[in-house]
């Protein structure tokens, strides 16, 4: 794996050195006897969520943090935002040690988790913003300026005054982001900010983050399941798998790394069963959409697609990127 050359610490917003986190999870077998035994003597299995991860992120960089579920992304993010103490290793963000939870640090960074809402459900987002203003001690002047800018970039005016309960998922996410950025943090930790959103909403959020980064020079560390998030925003990605850093480098290099292929999904009309293996490697995808999937090299996609359309009574045909989990599994299976 390529690691970036030595960098001067002043230009770094985030420095991580051999960060490790091991969880002790109590073992629990089924059955009454086991429950009784566990009461007396607990057996723990150590889970190594993050193992000796090191990287640097410079000021103003947007870095994608990728990996399949359970890879250690969220744990790393929690350590960098100060929520978790590591088992060993160090990290410094903006010159602070995150888990000391110093107020000055907390005012300089933000954590937004796509699956967990911080906004109060019953009141309009605008009131939650006021609450944040008080908590983050933002002056009225700065608050007004921040809000104006966020409103501009996210079109908050129509949705700010509605109770959060009544907003759509996309609108809610916009407000969540706004709430997290009112205090103009210099480091943003975003955990799956676009999850569950429709394509348009996802695009809006990406545009917003790009523009925000341009205007404020904030560093952004963003985790995602969606390759599209990453390709749109990040020049650099870090891949973590089984708690270990697998890749840290540019996107273009990665796509050379990965076997460059696409998935063609074919739904046939009357003839249900047809052997597509002559066109490409059959892939077992349980999408439940009635399509059969074959894997095809990128350069051959056009020719093979044309061939399929010519030969078979095609009902529906799609050309998709392989899911990110697949890519990582394939490329880094060791």
């Amino acid at each position: 794996m390529s690691s970036l050359e030595a960098r001067s610490p002043e230009s770094d917003a985030i420095t991580v050195q051999d960060l490790t986190k091991t969880f002790k999870v109590p073992e629990r077998e089924a059955g009454f006897g086991a429950a009784l035994r566990s009461f007396v003597r607990r057996k723990y299995t150590p889970i190594q969520a993050v193992q000796q991860v090191s990287f640097h992120i410079g000021k103003g960089e947007i870095v994608g943090f990728l990996g399949p579920n359970g890879a250690g992304k969220t744990t790393t993010l929690k350590m960098l935002s100060g929520l978790l103490h590591p088992t060993s290793g160090q990290a410094r963000v903006l010159g602070f040690t995150p888990w000391e939870l110093k107020n000055d640090y907390l005012r300089a960074m933000t954590l937004v988790m796509g699956q967990r809402n911080r906004l109060s459900w019953d009141i309009p987002a605008a009131d939650s913003f006021l609450l944040n203003q008080a908590i983050y001690r933002i002056s009225d002047q700065d608050f007004k300026a921040s809000l104006k800018e966020l409103d501009e970039l996210l079109e908050l005016s129509p949705i700010m005054r509605k109770p959060v309960r009544n907003l759509s998922l996309g609108e809610r996410m916009k407000c969540e982001l706004a709430a997290g950025l009112l205090h103009r943090p210099k480091v943003l930790f975003l955990d799956e900010p676009t999850i569950g959103l429709d394509i348009t909403a996802q695009a809006r959020i990406r545009e917003f983050l790009r523009e925000y980064n341009r205007r404020t020079g904030a560093s952004i560390l963003l985790t995602s399941h969606y390759m599209a998030d990453v390709t749109a925003l990040c020049e650099r990605i870090i891949i973590i798998h089984h708690g270990r850093l697998k890749y840290d480098g540019g996107i273009s290099e990665l796509s050379h790394r990965i076997a460059p292929y696409k998935l063609i999904g074919v739904a046939l009309g009357e003839v249900r069963e047809c052997d597509l293996s002559c066109y490409g490697t059959l892939v077992n995808a349980e999408n439940g959409d009635g399509k059969q999937y074959i894997q095809v090299e990128v350069d051959e996609v056009t020719t093979i697609t044309a061939q399929i359309l010519k030969d078979l009574p095609v009902h529906d045909l799609t050309i998709e990127d392989p899911p990110i989990e697949h890519v990582i599994e394939q490329a880094f299976e060791e």
């Binding site: 935002s81 100060g82 978790l84 000055d104 988790m113 009141i123 006021l130 609450l131 908590i135 983050y136």
Partner: protein, 272 residues
Amino acid sequence: MHALKLIQTFLKVNLQIALAYRVDTLVNILINLMWLGVELIGLQIIFSNTDRLAGWGPGELVSLLGVFRLVNMLMASVIWPATEKFNTSVRDGTLDYTLIQPANSLFLVSFSRIIVWRVWDLALAIGLVVVGMRMSARDLASLTGEVASITSLASLAGFLVLVASGALVLYSLWVVLIALTFWFVKFDNNVTILQALLDSGRYPATVYPPWLRIIITYLVPIALATTIPMQGLRGDLSALQVFVFMGVGLASFLVALRVWKAGVRQYSGASS
């Protein structure tokens, strides 16, 4: 001070929520009044059957009811909603957001959800205390033939100090109870014991059999917040005793702060 500004903001936000549910708020006030009626009927029944209850007269019991309602109101408007919110936030992980906000986490957990309509209960409680004191003064006057003042300034001061330290003790107990969730995650019913025993504060602790009296004075110190301040108001306590109770209040608060800090450290895996 910044903390005051935060509380101000919390009150504003929660007022908004209450206004958004106007009719609910009205209904809640009506039900509250109904319960007051039931409590007063209860007192009336007691005193139609006897002159004094464990050495306490009707006026004093009315005042005690006022103190009880005050404590109850603080519990219902601040503590119970905060408990609900806290338990939910531990379960669904939104506690994380609270912990990384640049303000004291205990402060945020305690005051973010204030049930605003209960504030009027405060006025009611004070009213009851005053009415009760007047009743006692009248009784005393009719017995001794002289007009006694409602109470001395020293007793009043002692009373206020004791109410504050009693409330502080209960608050500290609550903090410790909810902090237990950091160690025992599935401890949803953490504060039920507090809620349950709170009802005993309606009557003076001397009414109860010794074993119950010990529980509500030392273990779950409801009596510290209700009976003891009333004793102060009656002039039963010496200045030394008042100071001791004040000390107990402060000490328990310090203990609670420590437990909370330890809990947060446990939550973030500091020791492991």
